[in-house]
Every structure is written in structure tokens, then in C-alpha cells.
């Protein structure tokens, strides 16, 4: 009876934790986000149950099965129980395989949505990356990462920017290119991440679903100013987006956002500039320099 009550309580607590799990994540701003969060909530609930059960047993034992102070004797020697052992091999097996199958489904859906399509799967010639903008398919945005700045090019519209602008609910193919080391393209609000591998161009499809301003962070350690290698992603309505592109095309080219360049210059003036570092690439020449201090949603 007490056991039944505890199990019910644990199930309730686990369910509650599963619901809480949604709040631990940033806002959902892409088609991938609800899928990932659903899976995460499910695993949090399951994990809470397992953790709770194990800890409950441990606490129970610690409280109830302590040896008396002067009791030097041994406990009853139970060496094993084949039935139990089979049960607790099969249950975890079934549970983790169930999770894996669920995750594989999400994976496949995400795959349809598009991360991870290497260009070389489609066209071996393009594997080397760094192609001129005019050969890109329509609505493709080129993402170029350097030590330590991000540049976003809209070849069709002759726009270059330090801020990634996207139209809400419009699928877009990003072409990820790195000019030096491995960088990681990571937008927490989108729950998506893909490394940029030097020597490869990687096509990466995303569909933003919520208007707002989000942070893009470098997720692969890329050298001294790695931490400052951030940019903003602005998701806006179709009209605003079109207007932005149109306006941006009229702006003159100017140095884009690069914290590294400024900090590097300041550092050079110091008496003890610190340990050796790779000099930052010059800031990209862009129409829209962007800002990384504006308030962001996630």
C-alpha cells in the first residue's frame, strides 16, 4: 500500500518535472524546437522516475538497514536472484530502445527539415566550398565564419550583413563555410547546431517560426576570441524582411561587427599583451554592421 502510494507520487512528480523541462529551454523559434523539447520533456520525466526510484531505495536502506552500534554480525547472504537480474536487464533494454526509436523518428523529421545535407551528397564538385555567390541556388544565404566574426551574404540581393535576417515561417537553406578553423553554427532558440568544416560547404536548412532577435553562438572552440564570436539572428515578417533587404542593398559597405579586432588592437597596446594569439581576420565589409548589445529574446 505504502509502496503503491510512493509509486503514484513518483509518477506524478516525474510528470511534473517533464512539464517543467519545457521552461528550462530558450523560447521555441524554429520548426525543430518543439520536436526537440518534446523529446527532452519525455526523457526528463523518465529520468526523474528512474532517479527518484533509485534514490528512494538508497535512502530507505540508509535509514532502515543500519547496523546497530555493537552489532558485528553479517547480514543474510543473498547472492543473487536470476529472475530479478533478468527483469532488470530487460526493462532498461526496452526503455532505452523505446527512447532510441522515438529519437530516431524525430531525427528523421529533422532530417526532412534539413540539417546535415552535405553538398557533396548532391554534387561532388561543390565539396570544396568557397564558391562565388552567383552560382548559388535561389534563396540561399551564405554564412561565412572567420576568426572571429560572422558574415551573412544574400547573393541575389547583393547584401552582406553582420546580422542574420530571416523571414518567419520561410524555409531557408544556409550554406555554411569556414575560412580558417572549425566553427560551430549554434542558435539555441532554434535548437540547431552544425559545425562549419574548413574545406567543405555544408547546406543547412532551417525554418524560423517566431519573430524576434536571437543569439547565434560559436559552439566549436575557435581560438582566442572564441567567446566573443557571437552574432544576432533577426526573424521578422516577410514584408519587413523584404524591406530590410531592399534597404540594406542601398547602404554603403562598411566594416562589420568584430569584437576580436577591437580587443586585439587594445591588447597590442598593453605592456604585457598576454600569450600568443592568431591575429583576427579583418572585419567583413558589410552593408549592415549589426550590434551585439541589443536586447535579445534568447
Amino acid at each position: 500500500m505504502a509502496l503503491a502510494i510512493s509509486v503514484v507520487a513518483l509518477v506524478a512528480a516525474s510528470w511534473w518535472m517533464g512539464q517543467q523541462a519545457y521552461h528550462w529551454m530558450p523560447v521555441q523559434a524554429s520548426t525543430a524546437a518543439p520536436l526537440v523539447d518534446g523529446l527532452f520533456s519525455f526523457e526528463t520525466a523518465l529520468g526523474t522516475f528512474v532517479f527518484g526510484a533509485v534514490v528512494a531505495v538508497m535512502l530507505w536502506v540508509v535509514v532502515m538497514h543500519r547496523a546497530d552500534k555493537y552489532d558485528e554480525s553479517d547480514a543474510v547472504p543473498i547472492e543473487g536472484n536470476t529472475r530479478l537480474e533478468v527483469i532488470w536487464t530487460v526493462i532498461p533494454l526496452v526503455v532505452v530502445m523505446a527512447i532510441a526509436v522515438y529519437a530516431m523518428r524525430v531525427n528523421t523529421t529533422l532530417g526532412v527539415l534539413g540539417p546535415m545535407e552535405h553538398i557533396h551528397m548532391a554534387d561532388a564538385r561543390e565539396e570544396q566550398g568557397g564558391f562565388a555567390g552567383d552560382r548559388l541556388p535561389t534563396e540561399q544565404v551564405e554564412v561565412i565564419s572567420r576568426q572571429w566574426s560572422w558574415e551573412f551574404r544574400y547573393p541575389q540581393d547583393h547584401v552582406s550583413s553582420s546580422e542574420l535576417h530571416l523571414a518567419v515561417d520561410q524555409p531557408v537553406t544556409l550554406r555554411l563555410v569556414s575560412e580558417d578553423v572549425i566553427h560551430g553554427f549554434f542558435i539555441p532558440a532554434f535548437r540547431l547546431k552544425q559545425d562549419l568544416i574548413p574545406g567543405r560547404a555544408i547546406n543547412f536548412n532551417i525554418t524560423p517560426t517566431r519573430e524576434g532577435r536571437y543569439r547565434l553562438r560559436d559552439s566549436q572552440f575557435s581560438g582566442t576570441w572564441f567567446a566573443a564570436n557571437q552574432a544576432d539572428v533577426v526573424v521578422e515578417s516577410e514584408e519587413t524582411y523584404k524591406a530590410w533587404l531592399k534597404n540594406a542593398a542601398t547602404q554603403p559597405l562598411q566594416p562589420g561587427l568584430s569584437d576580436a579586432v577591437g580587443q586585439y588592437e587594445a591588447r597590442k597596446k598593453l605592456k604585457n599583451p598576454g600569450w600568443a594569439t592568431v591575429p583576427p581576420a579583418p572585419p567583413p565589409q558589410v552593408n549592415v554592421p549589426g550590434s551585439n548589445t541589443l536586447p535579445h529574446d534568447a
Partner: protein
């Protein structure tokens, strides 16, 4: 065999402390050398961790320069892994394997000493990189190219080069150790000790060392190519020259995933040894627990890609490696349930080692759950390379492995030093460690979920709250080491003299005096007649057990 010589053989060791500074070939001396040296490096690695957490207590990059930060976190990770955790485990192997199986020493005593002395050599090499122009390696303990082959300083001798050399030497030392441990376990067991009469610690050490033999050549080869790229202009990994940086990631993780089992398997062994003693019950499901180690080995070798899901691997590979990773939960779960089965209805004694085991198990279960999350590709895509990962793996490594190591040290301290550790200080050490570790590493999970990348020296203000908590936890962890050091030093110098078997434990090592004689059992190797962990069964472990116990009493 007259009983006079029999008990004469049981004179405990009375050597001088100077032998700990010499090229000694006694595994017990080497074991203590390893452990003490490892803790020396632990303090350095811990100091670096304090600087990391000091920097991260505020969002801005204000405590140390960014390049210094990168050097520090790189050295923290490298020191903790290659100079602390592997050496400390090798120290335990040296102490425990020969005594537990009734061998006089390791199979190759001189090789053993050479393997040990390589540690201070590559340790000095690694630490000296702090003083070369340009500073130490700064590309993380993974040292992924191209960052690791950029060499901004331009000189032939540079931090990264020293780093690679040190890691390669560490590999050489570990391979020497692995050959020795595997041979000793397979060839030098006391009569009657079949594989299934071996203590679990020996099973897990065997499994762990087999992994070293398979995995290390990949790491060493990969590191050699990295050194060629860095210093001699080859292009194994350099994209401009037709190389592939992702290739390195495969070499690296082909070793470094199994490496986590090299670390955690012996800790499973420690749990399996200690839970029975302090619950006064046999290990539940001995055979399953023993075999699970090798199932973990096998699976551990086919999961490495789970570390590089976002780096451009095909969908089918992601699915395959997700399945294989998840499968590891099964043999691991078997072990966890076996420990629960062991303490269930036991007669528990909450001594310091037992507290560390219980705390370690608690943290390990938590780490296992976040591990399953990390194996799930869609979740991993979001949290990989964020603080979620740092949190997960410190739960494994500090929360479970280091806790298990502390448990082992308190438990076997009397056997190898001949002195009893102080319980009060031990319990204080446990409390500070348990609270500190959880306060330090739990906040890293929400940080990772929110999207804070790892390895950053500054961050957006929304991450400040959890970082302050983590830093406070870290400082508490830093403090936690003080009672430990106090305890070790003072009890070793003037602790109470230890009896041969202070915990009333069952095992060959407890049939030896504390500390044991140089060649352990000498000519009087016992014949093993029953399984280990015979608590409550009343069966003697070895033939003529009474004579051994009598000999101990007479001395």
C-alpha cells in the same frame, strides 16, 4: 612448512620513507608513488579550476586575459586527465591487483617502475609549457585541428608541441602499465583463484586495461600526425593541403570515449568491493557484474561518434551510434541494480568510505540520466559543446569517479600505510565534497540548456545567476580538499596503528599484515577456495585460513 617460518614471513614492512623517492620495483611502493604524485597534480589542476570559476563568476572577461583563460582551461583538463586520474587509478591498480590476487609483485616490476617514472617526466614537460614563449597549448584537451596546428608563436618549440609530446608519452606509459596489469591478472593469480573467484576490482581493472591496449594506439597515431602537421608542415588535417580536420576527431574519440570507461570501470570495481564490506552482504549478482564489464568494453568501442554528431556525420551513422550508446545503459544499469541489491537488507555502516560510495552512486545515477539525454541525437545537437556536457561529465568524473577514489583511499589506507585515517575529518571531507560537487556541477545543466557554450571566457548576462552558484560550489570544492590533506598527512604520521583487518573485510589483501611485507605472501601463497564477498556465508576464503589469521595475530 613449519609454523615458525610461516609467521616470520608475516613481519610487516619497516622501510624508510626514502624508498618512495627511489626507483623502487615494489608494486606497493610504486602504487603510493603514483597516488601521491597524482594528488600533487590534482592540486595544480584544481587551482586552475578555481581560476576558471573565478573568471566565470562575472559575465565579462575580467580576471585573466582571454588567451590566458584558454591556456588555463586546456591545462586544467589535460592535467586532470593525464596527470591526475589515470595515474591515481594506476596507483590503485598497483596497490590492489597483486595483493588481491596473491601475487608477490607485478609481472614486470622494472617495466612498472619505468611506466611510473614517465609520469613526472611528461608532467614536467607539460607544466613547463606554461613558461615557453607564447604560453601553453590553448586548444582544449581535445586539441582539434586546425586550431591546434595554427602555432601563432611560430617557433618550433611551443606549448602545443609540448602538449602533444606529453600526451604521447602518457600513452606510452599507459600502454606499459596496461601490458603489466593484464599479464599480472591473467598469469599470477594465487592457486585456486579462477577468473570467477577474482575480486570484481580485478575484473574491472582487466576490462579497463584491455581498452587501453585497443584505444591508445589510435590516439598516439592521431597525435603523431597532429605533431607532423604542427611542426613539419604536413597536411593530414589541414584542409588547404587536402587534409580533413574531422579525421582527427575520429582518431581522438576512438580512444577518448573508451578512456571514460578506463576511468569509470575501476570505480565500479571499488563500489563492488566496498558495498559488500559495509553492508555485510555478498555482492549481489557477482557473475553478471563481472561480465558486464566486458560488455561495456565491447559497446564502448563502437560509440565514439556520439561526441561529434554536429560535425558532419551521415544520418545513418547518427542513428547507429545513438543505438549503441544507449545499449551501454543496460550493462551499466545491471551494475547499479546489483549494488542496490547488495545494500538492500544489509547491515550498513556509514563509515567514510561507505559515504563516498553512496554519494558517488547518487551522482553517477544522475550522470547516467543526462548521459542518455546526450546520446539522443536531437537533444545532443542542442546541448553538445555547451555547459550541459561539462556538467554531465564532471558528475561522472568528480561526482562518481573521484568520490570512488576517495572511498578507496580511506578504505585501503590502513592496509598500505599501517595507520588508521581519522573518521571525523573523513566525514567532513565527504560532506564538503558532496555539497560542493552538486552545487558546482548541477547549475551547469540549466546553463547548457539555455545555450551557454563551453570554453568561453565571457558570456551574456542572462547566464550570470547559475554561474555564480557554480563558482561558489567550486570554491567549496576547493576548500573540501583541506580536511582530506590534513587527514592523510596527520594520520600517516601519527595515526593509530592499524590492525591487519580493521574493517573485518574478506579478501586476500586482508590476510596480510598492515602494511604488507615486500613480497606479499612470499612462499606462503594461500589457495583460494571460495568466491570473494562471502559475508554471512561463513565459508573460509582460503585453505587453512585459520593459520593465516593466527600468524597475523602472533605478529
Amino acid at each position: 612448512m613449519t609454523s615458525a617460518t610461516f609467521s616470520e614471513n608475516f613481519q610487516p614492512e619497516q622501510g624508510s620513507w626514502k624508498r618512495y623517492f627511489s626507483f623502487n620495483t615494489d608494486a606497493k611502493v610504486i602504487g603510493i608513488q603514483y597516488i601521491v604524485l597524482a594528488f600533487f597534480y590534482f592540486l595544480i589542476g584544481g587551482l586552475l579550476a578555481m581560476i576558471i570559476r573565478g573568471e566565470l563568476i562575472t559575465p565579462a572577461s575580467d580576471l585573466v586575459d582571454r588567451s590566458v583563460y584558454n591556456g588555463i582551461y586546456t591545462m586544467h583538463g589535460t592535467i586532470m586527465l593525464f596527470l591526475f586520474i589515470f595515474p591515481v587509478l594506476n596507483g590503485l591498480n598497483n596497490l590492489l591487483i597483486p595483493t588481491m590476487i596473491g601475487a608477490p609483485d607485478m609481472a614486470f616490476p622494472r617495466l612498472n617502475a619505468v611506466a611510473f617514472w614517465l609520469v613526472p617526466i611528461f608532467g614536467t614537460l607539460l607544466i613547463s609549457s606554461f613558461f615557453v614563449p607564447g604560453g601553453p597549448a590553448y586548444s582544449g584537451w581535445w586539441s582539434f585541428p586546425p586550431v591546434s596546428i595554427q602555432n601563432p608563436i611560430g617557433t618550433f618549440v611551443n606549448g602545443q608541441g609540448l602538449w602533444i609530446t606529453a600526451v604521447a608519452l602518457s600513452g606510452v606509459s599507459s600502454i606499459m602499465g596496461a601490458i603489466n596489469f593484464v599479464t599480472t591478472i591473467l598469469r599470477m593469480r594465487a592457486p585456486g583463484m579462477g577468473l570467477f573467484k577474482m575480486p570484481i576490482f580485478c575484473w574491472t581493472a582487466l576490462a579497463a586495461q584491455c581498452l587501453q591496449l585497443v584505444g591508445l594506439p589510435a590516439l598516439t597515431g592521431g597525435a603523431l600526425m597532429l605533431l607532423m602537421d604542427l611542426s613539419f608542415g604536413t597536411s593530414f588535417y589541414r584542409a588547404e593541403g587536402g587534409g580533413d580536420p574531422v579525421l582527427y576527431q575520429h582518431f581522438f574519440w576512438f580512444y577518448s570515449h573508451p578512456a571514460v570507461y578506463v576511468i569509470i570501470l575501476p570505480v565500479f570495481g571499488i563500489f563492488s568491493e566496498l558495498f559488500p564490506v559495509y553492508s555485510r552482504k555478498p555482492l549481489f549478482g557477482y557473475v553478471y557484474v563481472a561480465l558486464a564489464s566486458f560488455i561495456i568494453d565491447f559497446l564502448g568501442l563502437i560509440v565514439w561518434v556520439h561526441h561529434i554528431f554536429p560535425s558532419g556525420v551521415a544520418q545513418w551513422m547518427r542513428n547507429f551510434f545513438m543505438f549503441s550508446t544507449m545499449l551501454i545503459a543496460v550493462p551499466t544499469g545491471v551494475k547499479v541494480f546489483a549494488w542496490l541489491g547488495t545494500i538492500w537488507r544489509g547491515k550498513l555502516r556509514l563509515t567514510t568510505p561507505m559515504l563516498f560510495c553512496l554519494g558517488g552512486l547518487f551522482n553517477f545515477v544522475f550522470a547516467g540520466i543526462t548521459g542518455i539525454m546526450l546520446a539522443t541525437v536531437p537533444i545532443d545537437i542542442h546541448v553538445s559543446n555547451t555547459y550541459f556536457v561539462v556538467g554531465h561529465f564532471h558528475y561522472v568524473i568528480y561526482g562518481a569517479a573521484v568520490m570512488g577514489i576517495f572511498a578507496a583511499i580511506y578504505h585501503w589506507f590502513p592496509k598500505f600505510t599501517g595507520r588508521m585515517p581519522y573518521e571525523g575529518l573523513g566525514k567532513l571531507h565527504f560532506a564538503l565534497t558532496f555539497i560542493g560537487a552538486n552545487l558546482n556541477f548541477l547549475p551547469m545543466h540549466p546553463l547548457g540548456l539555455m545555450g551557454m557554450p563551453r570554453r568561453v571566457s565571457s558570456y551574456d548576462p542572462e547566464f550570470a545567476f547559475w554561474n555564480v552558484l557554480a563558482s561558489l560550489g567550486a570554491f567549496l570544492l576547493g576548500v573540501s580538499i583541506i580536511p582530506f590533506l590534513l587527514n592523510m598527512i596527520s594520520s600517516w604520521v601519527r595515526g593509530e596503528k592499524a590492525p591487519a583487518n580493521p574493517w573485518n573485510a574478506i579478501g586476500l589483501e586482508w590476510l596480510l599484515p598492515s602494511p604488507p611485507h615486500e613480497d606479499n605472501f612470499g612462499d606462503f601463497v594461500p589457495t583460494v577456495i571460495s568466491r570473494p564477498y562471502g559475508y554471512g556465508s561463513g565459508l573460509p576464503l582460503v585453505e587453512n585460513q585459520a593459520a593465516y589469521e593466527q600468524a597475523l595475530k602472533e605478529n
